[in-house]
Amino acid sequence: MAEAATVTRRKRRHRFRMSLGDQIFETCNYLALILLMVVTLYPFLNTLAVSFNDAQDSIRGGIYLWPRKWTLENYRFVFEEASILNATLISVLRTVIGTVLTVFFSAMVAYTISRPEYVLRKFVTIAFILTLYVNGGLIPNYLLIRELNLIGTFWVYILPGLIGAFNLIIIRSFIENLPDNILEASKIDGAGDYRTFFHIVLPLCTPVLATVSLFTGVWQWNSWFDVFLYNSSYEHLSTLQYELQKILSFSQASIQRVDFNAAAAQGGIGQVTPYAIRATMTIVASVPIIMVYPFLQKYFVQGMMIGGVKE
């Protein structure tokens, strides 16, 4: 498939002379795609510039792509705020623990439903796949979490979303596409299911597990609704995204966050503004992802392909 693409490319490259229509198209195409890049990137670069600009100076407006009065005050302020430091820690914890557990357990279940001889294979598969169609919905889920006393705990971020049917399907198709004889050979060597899974399947599945880790990690890092729903009155379990959401909804209602201004006054640091804090928090909340995703492109494109060609 990739080879075929390069062949067409090579073929096309031979036609050096372009007609006028082609030239116009080519130009418009480049312009359109450059416009797309500008529209995509500008808001981020603008936010970045504001986050590095003096907060009082930003009020005057006119910050576009570059800070006018450079400062690290906004970042210093954000990271000196105990609640935000704690929220960062919780965000990191839920991302790491959630991803590791989800990937490991998903791989385990996917392995069992990839074994043709497994008696419960159909039952387990259908039980998971049905959840793609029906779910109890917001309120019943909320009441269940309440009944289970998970409100006000860290585990409310991990347990409810532990294994997704979609991840299972992706990993299962990957295992099923592994060369049969590898698994058979391990069985004939007398390896049980545990050994086959840990020593053969897990290492061979690295690419698909990378894909699932990426999806899960991004989802965990970006989650805020479960914090809002279950833990909004448990300050010590707040996450970065939820802290940002609070700032957004406060400034949307044009209520200034009192504690920010109070803290700024008492700390003797240059006055920060909700606007500057908001920009800084936005950068803090998205930088880890922006740093990671370009290097994992290969994996998520692969994942989309397996996911798209299910069964």
Partner: protein, 323 residues
């Protein structure tokens, strides 16, 4: 598990012979205890977190009060559904849900296919990579971050107002998110901004699978770039488009929650409030659990019907099966 090759016929036999099948089944289960241990605990987890909440639907036939057990509640029959269907706000939420789903569907598809076609025409591979990488970026950031960015961009002192003012297209700054009628448009632009690059991946992959000899044949017939796009590329990715379109029809009542909730405010509520937000407001904020569950249940039931219909249409059209 010592003789895996011997097990296959045995497991087939359990299905065939009913007599003594149960005994055999448990023997097999014991033999495969490793696999059982590796999967059954998660099935229990699944039942607790995915199937037990379905029981919660009976709340919609009750007048649910917090603090009382599920079975001690007062039963009210279909009263909640009557109240729901007599509630203009519910119909408005339903309208908003469907309209925004359609916007999502139409805009999402056309922009992603267009982007894939444009990217496919690029000969500069490095440029193509750069465009793609940048276009994925908004997909990976959270809706909280995206909504914050959109609010700043559309603010009275934001870049959009500034550009329009400088171009002389408007005289005063516009409060974009404060004008209800504009919410659907803003929603449409926002979701395209966030996901167009991501959604194009699958079409680009499909385009890459098209047989190159088709292009050569078209070229020999004197087809220009647009004719090739129209007669080779688009028909080539038709199956993918059809499957994704049908699948999305199944999700017509799930227009998402985050963009509407995060960009919504009191001024645009009449256009931004969809069923998910309706459920949240009535259930969690007003403690009217029963009405909220009725609304959520209505949505899920219609969604499942749509999904099943969509799935059977897909099968009838003989395209790839969804799930």
């Amino acid at each position: 598990m010592e003789h895996p090759l011997m097990l296959k016929p045995t497991s087939a036999a359990t299905v065939d012979t009913k007599t003594g099948g149960l005994k055999r089944f448990f023997r097999l289960l014991w033999k495969q205890r490793a696999l059982v241990l590796m999967s059954v605990p998660f099935v229990l987890w699944l039942f607790l977190f995915r199937y037990v909440p379905l029981w919660g639907w009976i709340i919609s036939f009750q007048d649910y009060q917090l603090g009382k057990g599920l079975w001690d509640q007062e039963w009210v029959g279909f009263k909640q559904f009557e109240a729901l269907f007599n509630e203009p706000r519910f119909w408005r939420a339903l309208r908003n849900t469907i309209v925004m789903s359609f916007i999502n569907l139409v805009l999402g598809f056309t922009t992603a296919i267009t982007l894939a076609l444009l990217l496919n025409e690029l000969r500069q591979i490095v440029f193509k990579r750069v465009v793609q990488t940048i276009s994925y970026l908004p997909h990976f950031i959270s809706w909280v971050v995206a909504a914050g960015i959109i609010q700043v961009t559309l603010a009275p002192d934001g870049i959009v107002n500034e550009l329009l003012l400088r171009l002389g297209l408007i005289k005063d700054e516009l409060l974009f998110l404060g004008i209800g009628e504009w919410f659907w448009g803003i929603y449409g632009v926002s979701i395209v901004w966030k996901d167009v690059g991501w959604n194009a991946i699958i079409y680009l992959a499909a385009i890459a699978m098209i047989d190159p000899s088709l292009y050569e044949a078209a070229e020999m017939d004197g087809a220009n770039r647009f004719r090739k796009m129209w007669h080779v590329t688009l028909p080539g990715i038709r199956p993918v488009i059809v499957v994704l379109l049908i699948l999305n029809i199944g999700y017509l009542l799930e227009s998402g929650f985050e963009p509407q909730f995060l960009l919504g405010n009191g001024m645009n509520m009449r256009y931004s409030e969809n069923i998910d937000i309706f459920v949240l407001k009535y259930g969690i904020q007003l403690f009217n659990f029963s009405l909220a569950v009725a609304a959520g249940m209505f949505r899920t039931v219609v969604s499942v019907i749509l999904l099943v219909i969509a799935n059977s249409i897909a099968r009838r059209l003989n395209e790839t099966r969804l799930y």
